[in-house]
Symmetry: C2
Subunit: 480 residues, 2 copies
């Protein structure tokens, strides 16, 4: 079964498996102990730290191994904020960071910290100047100072190396320069890019996750540059420079480092190959499937990730059908998930959040499988769309009302958009459709649909103005 969800987790690299097996024999003991087995574990750990540091562009004594990428990000954020508490309590991050980072920011906000979220463009890309404009340098910040806010100066800024949902690469080098100029430490979450593309320098803290590059689960990396203030948010512990309490998992760390070195060796050739496969998907999907939007930056992108959204389709249903057809892919949005919230990344980009599919190719993904995916996809989307009756011609515009009310109250996305698409033909050019909806996703999806279909989105009004007992009316003017 072709596995196209490497951005969630990559299959274990053969080098990782080999190193893990060997290190289970050689590195199982406590590296803090003085006897032979302990000393051997310590040597393996030291060597793994050197390898990881070298590949990531850090010094060995800057690197701590964490128990996951999530822990690396969260310790990085909370540890840097605690270490820079005297500077201020203002945190800046992009709107499209990984949820692990957003959850750490929520902890900061709940504890009285101030958080500024920097928006992205429609391609999911941060503007470095806009990012820098959100910073409050310590010199001019402070409560009531120039650029100051309730949180004082900026204690930390965070920018991912590349987005995990749409593959857009962020301008980290430029942002790092501007942060340095402002004297604000920058945390770079490199979870999606580490091992695949070089990590730009200039970071103050760097976080990465081994299972994303083919290492085992259970290992993350947190690097903190010499001189960057850091204060552990966790209970005291002597291990991993006082940053990560708990027994050090030497075998998994050894495997993580070995596979990081291996994938970096393959990265250039394999990256170019996957880049071309993704280019093919980006080009073909809109030709093969009607009403589809490929999202993310077409130029500044990771080699292996492509994301597209299919109008009128529930993402989860699509994933299930693709699984039946033999393809393991993922979705940034899932209207039927337990949370009922669409992807914050797609939302921040202002693109369609429904029917979203992320294809992320692991090392070694085969061209034939990609071709087969492109063959199968139109059928699968067609099957999911078939019962919606979208192909039925709209009823002839007999005595069209100037405003057609489509009541989708109580119905979850993508129903409101489907109803809109089915019925807009009932109004003449210049006529208006008012879609009544109480699903928050409609606020994003109806304008996005209008953008894709060339219809005019005319704004919102209370649904009560159109006979609804609750919710919002989304007004769409038919262009013709």
């Amino acid at each position: 079964m072709p596995y196209f969800d490497a951005a969630s987790t990559a299959p274990l690299h053969p080098v990782a498996r080999q190193a893990l097996t060997a290190a289970l024999d050689e590195g199982w003991a406590d590296p803090a102990r003085l006897y032979r087995d302990g000393r051997r574990a310590r040597m393996l750990l030291d060597a793994a730290r050197e390898t990881a540091a070298e590949v990531l562009g850090a010094r060995p004594d800057e690197v701590s191994f964490t128990t996951s990428g999530t822990q690396a990000v969260q310790l990085g954020v909370l540890g840097a904020l605690a270490g820079n508490r005297r500077t201020g309590r203002h945190l800046v991050h992009s709107a499209v960071e990984h949820s692990s980072l957003l959850h750490a920011a929520e902890v900061h906000a709940a504890a009285g910290g101030e958080v500024t979220e920097v928006p992205v463009d429609r391609l999911g890309r941060v503007n470095a100047a806009r990012f820098a404009a959100a910073l409050r340098p310590a010199g001019v910040g402070g409560v009531g100072g120039v650029g100051g806010g309730v949180g004082g100066a900026t204690a930390l800024a965070c920018l991912q190396s590349a987005n995990h949902e749409v593959g857009t690469v962020q301008p980290v080098a430029e942002a790092a320069e501007l942060c340095a100029a402002a004297g604000v430490p920058l945390l770079v979450d490199a979870a999606q890019s580490a091992g695949r593309v070089p990590v730009p320098g200039g970071w103050s803290l760097l976080a990465a996750s081994a299972h994303k590059w083919g290492g085992p689960a259970g290992v993350g990396v947190l690097a903190v540059r010499k001189g960057v203030r850091y204060s552990s948010p966790l209970p005291a512990d002597e291990r991993e420079r006082g940053r990560v309490p708990g027994f050090v998992n030497v075998p998994a760390i050894v495997a993580a480092a070995a596979s990081l070195r291996a994938v970096r060796g393959e990265a250039e050739a394999e990256g170019a190959r996957l880049h071309a496969l993704v280019e093919r998907i980006r080009a073909r999907v809109p030709q093969l499937v009607p009403d589809v939007e490929v999202v993310g930056d077409p130029v500044h992108r990771l080699p292996h990730i492509v994301t597209f959204s299919c109008l009128y389709v529930d993402g989860e249903v699509l994933l299930t059908e693709l699984d039946r057809a033999g393809f393991a892919v993922s979705s940034g949005s899932s209207c039927t998930s337990s949370t009922l919230t669409p992807s914050h990344v797609l939302k921040a980009m202002g693109v369609l959040t429904e029917g979203n599919v992320r294809v992320s190719l692991p090392y070694g993904a085969e061209e034939a499988d990609v071709e087969r995916f492109l063959e199968v996809l139109p059928e699968v989307v067609g099957t999911v769309r078939a019962p919606l009756g979208l192909d039925a011609p709209p009823s002839a515009a007999s005595a069209p009302a100037p405003v057609l009310v489509v009541n989708a109250l109580g119905r979850r996305c993508p129903i409101p958009v489907i109803e809109l698409a089915k019925r807009i033909g009932e109004v003449p050019a210049g006529g208006t459709v008012a879609v009544l909806s109480d699903d928050e996703a409609a606020r994003l999806d109806i304008p996005a649909w209008c953008g894709m279909r060339g219809e005019e989105y005319a704004g919102e009004a209370p649904a009560a103005d159109y006979g609804g007992d609750r919710g919002t009316a989304y007004l769409v003017v038919r262009r013709g």
Copy 2:
């Protein structure tokens, strides 16, 4: 090389290795995903949770897998304290808990919480009634209330199942009953006993660590009884009941559960065998080595741990020599470690902290190796003691002064005790030796030495009274 440090980490159980290898193939995908590989990982995770729950006496939905035993303990303590904040901010724990728990308690204290440490007897055992007396039930507690203190009522009590340094088993069942009567949740740190002896019921929270029972590193267990209030101290996350952020390490968890079941199956027979080997060590060491104290409860003890202290010897030197002789053992005390603090466990017990050796037998430890250890030990201790000149007879008591001052200022333990032992013969029976020392360990070790040697410890005085420029004078009256 015989490995006698199972209490630090056990060698990987063959079942764990087998399960890990299989689960790296079958359970590597994200268990939150809907496609086949994800569903398979989810099934393996569910099965592992059922196994761990069954062996530990919990319900599957009470069990969260953590990334280490340390994390399990620390989340348990801080999560239960946060969840019971409205009850009060008073925490009770025994004086001999693992350092991971003490470090979590420090975080609580630093945040304004109140902590009561319950002492242990000379065998390292908590008295259940004394433990219960430290509790402040919510009904009568509160600021200024009966039994109340600044921290209000007791939010959490913590008691290990058995001590990690000396093997003493704690009266958990009795303590649990008394906690229940007081309405105080009890956290049991079962890291040293899980998989070896059944966990007594009655706990509200239970913590354990897989690599202590032969599972892989990187897996801990935190079980929280239904109805026990818990509020995560970490950023939000959907995984593991919202308690453990980060990608779930399914292969390691599968291996942890498989080995837990395996060791429980072997526990009775293997426990009896190791119990007998430890009994042999307990009996023989004092016969073979002069001036040695076997510490820990001789009756209420884990099958596999025995600890003894050798007078006049630096623990770290002893470990190094034993390593040279081919034995991997550990020490609760190390006067030359970076911290220079003797083991808090031995200190709380009031026993000798110097020259401490912990032997902890892994499953499958061989009798022949234990016998060889008993052969080698006297030689090794003798070698370490040889340069001290302890065998030289004390100089004949020519015109003995009523008080002999032994100036050991500026010298680390065990030097003050060695000097005392060398020179006490210089005073007649009834004469006093004043040992001047500025090493904190002397406060414990000199009384302990007196207890062992039948001399009378007469208390402390300022060293200045005996000509010292700093430190304390420890007064010893010669009996013999």
